[in-house]
Amino acid sequence: MAEVEALRPGAEAEVPIGAIVARGYWGTVAYRLSQDPVTIAFGVVLILIFLAAIFAPVLAPHDPYKTNMPMRLTAIGTPGFLLGGDELGRDMLTRLLYGGRVSLFMGLTPVLLALLIGGSLGVTAGFVGGKVNMGIMRVMDVFYAFPTVLLAIGLTGALGTGSRNLLIAITVILSPPIARVAESVTTQVRAFDFVEAARASGADTSTIIRVHVLSNVLGPILIYTTSLVSVSIIISAGLSFLGFGVTPPTADWGLMLATLRTTIWANPYVAVLPGLMIFITSMCFNLLSDGMRNAMDMRF
């Protein structure tokens, strides 16, 4: 945007009043996103997945928990069982719709919590600097000492299995990287003179952070956070797969993958479906975050 403006010097002298639309940052981001069909496409797919999950009770043709032994591992395309049946004869389509609710919830909630916790820790560390920064960031570094999944397994092991503890475990492992990103962008923004000017205006720290810092750091933090959604979905699916998270008979993509794994020789196409859903959803989040970065990353 800045570059475009620089290419036409004296623009405001030639263009009639009112012809220049001052869009502002988020306005420009929205405009740039609208010019990016690939990102829009992935966004639409994601929205469809979300809608499908939200309206699962309306859309699902069967009961997700009712077993139907004759329909065990039926092939994809069987009438009434559009995506086949699982190892207990439950309708795969229904299970996938309901599983999406759990998987998306388990994927998004820890990311939002981590955004809140890691983001505020990182912004505080970056803005205050000095010993506070040292304290917060070194504690965050401790979490980097462990491999992510191992740490999550360790935490759920310590807290006990179940979806609530899985949420806590994933929140804990996602907070440090968000804090790191937040800290680094905040440190950059803090060095700008407008922060000093705001201080010279007599504003206190919380006002400066609210008005001047957040408006500049939220973009990069959100981009990074979006890219973590897929990580979160995969980790929660993985932990459910390993038996640390969601417990049967709840439908969850990770758990479904785990139980259908044994039937992969009998009906590989059905067994692969939950994995495919995890893959598509994660890819969409990743590509969406890429598109967002392209739209938001303007040099100021």
Partner: protein, 352 residues
């Protein structure tokens, strides 16, 4: 006020006791240099080392010096954006930040600053109007009133508010941005404006426009300026008095005409002769000053300028010269042994 300050203006603007607006006494700031395995303080950058000066109500004090001499640190110390190690600043007779003096927040309402970098001193995510209105809102002015004030100020600094108030900084030119910065600084209706290289980044024609704007605003709002610049011509144009800094210390201070016509300190003379001449016949071929300023981490002993001074004598390396008046002009002060009777320098005047 389109031409330079007249001698009359200088005479009336000189500080005379009661008129002192800012009194800076012994201001000092050393920045620690960390290093070594344990990240201990191994040295200090003596950014501002014991400087004292006054600013009279309604005058413009120009501060000049080479890069790194502590000009900007002085500005930030005045605004309390960094805490001084020692020294006091009296604002209109009250000590800034002292328990019985003027609180920093109140001082900041009355003293504002314009920064050099017009781009980084504006928040790229806020429209111009919000930037200007921010200060008043922080100080409890209602939002509609603050916005109204912002629009009026934008108009005062020469920007058509109806066109510019919703613009973002990247949609403005450098000169326009700096005008917004001036409007922002004026939004709290301050009495003192510190201009830290406020026009240095602008090109010459825009610089002249903004300078004239500043001079107009000064009259209109009855302001006092502390004008920091490395551009000697600009300082001569706007200032009533000039303070020359070298390596964190004041080497000479006096009325602008005195300093420019009759510089006493060898450093001031060198600075002034370093100005490009407008007359090709009088082109300077020899550099008036050679080399860079010494490292402020370990500044030279005695007179800090003695390592680059053509008149340096052994006493200069030994004894630190004191800023003092000489002759009959009480307003012109110099820190040089050559001007101090009985200092031991061979060129010093005989003791009276």
């Amino acid at each position: 006020m389109t031409d330079g300050p007249t001698p009359d203006a200088v005479a009336t603007a000189a500080p005379q006791g009661a008129e002192r607006f800012l009194e800076v006494r012994g201001l000092k700031k050393y920045f620690p240099v960390k290093g070594g395995v344990l990240n201990r303080t191994i040295a200090h950058v003596q950014a501002v080392d014991d400087i004292s000066f006054d600013v009279a109500k309604g005058e413009t004090l120009g501060i000049v010096g080479e890069s790194g001499c502590g000009k900007s640190t002085t500005a930030r110390l005045l605004m309390r954006l960094i805490e001084p190690d020692s020294g006091t600043v009296h604002f209109d007779g009250r000590v800034i930040g002292a328990s019985n003096g003027i609180p920093v927040r109140e001082m900041r309402r009355q003293m504002q600053m314009v920064f050099q970098d017009s781009y980084s001193s504006l928040n790229a995510r806020l429209p111009v109007e919000a930037t200007v209105a921010f200060g008043p809102i922080v100080h409890g002015v209602s939002r509609p009133e603050a916005r109204e004030r912002a629009r009026r100020l934008l108009y005062d600094v020469g920007l058509d508010a109806s066109r510019f108030m919703k613009r973002y900084p990247h949609e403005l030119s450098g000169g326009q941005r700096q005008r917004v910065n001036v409007a922002r600084a004026l939004a709290l209706q301050p009495r003192v404006l510190i201009l830290d290289e406020a026009v240095s980044a602008l090109d010459k024609s825009v610089e002249a426009q903004v300078l004239n704007l500043l001079l107009d605003l000064k009259k209109e709002y009855d302001l006092t300026y502390v004008f920091i610049s490395h551009d000697l011509n600009v300082v001569q144009y706007v200032s009533d008095r000039v303070l020359v800094m070298y390596l964190g210390q004041v080497v000479e201070i006096g009325p602008v005409d005195e300093i420019y016509a009759n510089p006493r300190h060898p450093y001031t003379r060198a600075l002034l002769s370093s100005r490009p001449s407008m007359d090709p016949e009088r082109r300077i071929t020899e550099p008036p000053l050679s080399g860079d300023p010494p490292n402020p981490i370990n500044p030279p002993s005695g007179c800090r300028f003695h390592t680059r001074c053509a008149f340096a004598n052994e006493v200069c390396a030994r004894v630190t010269p004191v800023l003092s008046t000489f002759g009959d002009d009480a307003r012109h002060e110099v820190a040089c042994h050559m001007m101090s009777p009985g200092s031991g320098h061979p060129d010093a005047p005989a003791r009276a």
